[in-house]
């Protein structure tokens, strides 16, 4: 009889994934139901905005600037072939607002803040701090998880917006300051082509969705980790990898909804 070990493992993995997805969804609802403490005692959430937002600032700003510089150079190189280098501002702004801003900021956020959140909660679990809290009649979901979740959700759109601003600044540095595209044309073309609702607002919506996804994955992986050193390190890896996949998949779904051409 042939050994279907591979198939069996595949099936087992799939069931396991689905199971975890179900648990994660239930966890999401539990966070939402237990968010009262995080909002009522807002200093708790403030500390997490500091932890996931302020501490991610440097990497977000620096990366945004570099992405903008590269976009400026590549964009100029391509656009001059068609004699439309005046559209440089448009290109830089649209690619940042619609895609690169939310997506790259989300990926950086996942690797900087998401991993830190998963590590923090995982370690608290491994050292029985969560159990101790539970024994003190303090719900760890309300006291530990929910503030971290909301801190991440609030930080993410701001980080994406700052990333886009730095990127546009980088494109401006290359295009206007170094190459010499006319400054007035750079800005006016950008303003004429970028629509508030269609481009800016949709980008913000994307970043909010990514913020929810990354924060949820991070707190869930931390909370669900095995309470050992190895389990925590695996949870951190999983948090970053799953977040990255979730961002890219969600980006595809959101983009196909948002920027669909009218029939």
């Amino acid at each position: 009889m042939p050994d279907f070990a591979f198939l069996r493992r595949l099936g087992g993995n799939t069931v396991d994934r689905l199971w975890r997805l179900g648990v994660a969804s239930r966890f999401f609802v539990a966070i939402l139901l237990n968010s009262g403490t995080a909002l009522r005692r807002y200093p708790l959430t403030f500390r997490e905005i500091w932890f996931s937002g302020v501490l991610s600032l440097v990497i977000i700003l620096v990366s945004g600037l570099f992405v903008g510089l590269v976009l400026g150079m590549q964009g100029y190189e391509i656009l001059t072939r068609y004699g439309s280098d005046t559209a440089l501002g448009v290109m830089v702004a649209l690619s940042l607002l619609r895609e690169l801003g939310p997506v790259i900021a989300g990926l950086l956020f996942a690797s900087r803040a998401g991993s830190a959140i998963a590590a923090e909660i995982g370690l608290m679990k491994a050292t029985e701090q969560l159990k101790a809290m539970d024994m003190m009649a303090v719900d760890p979901v309300a006291r530990v998880v929910a503030p971290r979740f909301w801190g991440g959700v609030i930080s993410m759109p701001f980080l994406a917006a700052l990333f886009s601003c730095m990127g546009i600044f980088g494109g401006w540095l290359i295009g206007v300051v170094m190459i010499g595209v006319d400054e007035g044309v750079f800005w006016s073309q950008m303003q004429a082509a970028v629509d508030f609702r269609h481009d800016v607002l949709n980008g913000v919506i994307k970043s909010v969705v990514f913020g929810v996804a990354v924060s949820l994955i991070a707190v869930f992986e931390g909370y669900d980790s095995e309470p050992t050193a190895e389990g925590v390190s695996r949870a951190i890896t999983r948090a970053v990898v799953t977040s990255a996949l979730a961002i890219l998949a969600l980006d595809f779904v959101l983009t196909s909804f948002m920027f669909r051409e009218s029939p």
Binding site: E120, M124, Q129, K131, A137, V138
Partner: protein, 274 residues
């Protein structure tokens, strides 16, 4: 309810999946006493403690604390009950992102609306009781194991609980710290008028401070008595435990197939006594 016993446990059963851990435990713990639950590693002592605290739901039997049946309570009821419980975890489980002061203040801040000045007085009182008032600004990472255990003890009694539970309070401590913790447990119990349950396998230290001892093996109570009873006991299991002998009623070997069969295969069955 004026009951002489704070905790009554009847025919308690618990299983992890299919593996039975507790198989019919009966226990009564008097108010104001210190009771030790002893047994080898993995005999279900910690599970028993978790059941009393409502962290695990038993499969059968009943646990009554303060006249309330724990296994019938919902989450809110368990939380209400836990406000009268303090628990000291094996390695302290201090919150690593909070200072010693904030760790002890944590239950007070979570459960009371006391002004900060009063919280400060209460925290300093508890820290003074464990002799660590001078370490209030340190972080848990800057404490020795024994000091961390004492801070955790101060935190466990911050709300003046009626019941204090200790999960392996002596594990991994040097003899001096061990003695200090033992004396603290005794002193705090009488000072607070509390009742204490201690899960441990440190027989010598326990005999000095507890009022009553239960021995658990294979999920059942196998022996019980006051420290004097225990010292004088003829029970082979208790003797093995008190004298720390390697083999006895508590088997050295995990139940397994015949060693010869394991080594040489099924053919070896016949040559066993050859």
């Amino acid at each position: 309810m004026s009951d002489d016993f704070l905790i009554r446990i009847e025919n308690l059963q618990f299983a992890y999946d299919a593996r039975p851990v507790l198989q019919g435990i009966d226990m009564r713990i008097p108010r104001g006493g210190i009771v030790a639950i002893m047994g080898g590693s993995g005999c279900g002592k910690t599970t028993l403690l978790r059941c009393i605290g409502g962290q695990l739901k038993p499969a059968g039997g009943s646990i009554r604390v303060h006249g309330v049946t724990v296994n019938n309570l919902d989450q809110a009821g368990i939380y209400a009950l836990r406000r009268h419980m303090g628990m000291l975890f094996q390695f302290g489980a201090l919150f690593t992102d909070l200072s010693v002061f904030d760790n002890v203040a944590f239950p007070l801040r979570e459960h009371t609306d006391l002004p900060e000045s009063l919280i400060r007085d209460l925290v300093l009182m508890k820290l003074e009781a464990v002799g660590l008032r001078g370490a209030r600004d340190r972080m848990p990472a800057e404490l020795s194991g024994g000091m961390a255990r004492r801070v955790a003890l101060a935190r466990a009694v911050a709300l003046d609980p009626a019941l204090i539970m200790y999960d392996e309070p002596f594990t991994g401590l040097d003899p001096i710290s061990l003695g200090i913790i033992g004396q603290l447990i005794r002193r705090l119990n009488s000072a607070l008028g509390a009742t204490s349950i201690m899960v441990t396998h440190d027989i010598q230290e326990s005999l000095l401070i507890v009022d009553y001892i239960y021995f658990i093996a294979a999920g059942k109570v196998v022996a019980e008595g006051t420290p004097d009873d225990i010292r004088r006991s003829d029970d082979p299991f208790v003797r093995q435990f008190v004298r720390a002998e390697a083999d006895g009623p508590a088997p050295f070997h995990v139940p397994s197939e015949n060693f010869a069969v394991d080594l040489f295969g099924a053919d070896a069955r016949g040559m066993q006594y050859a």
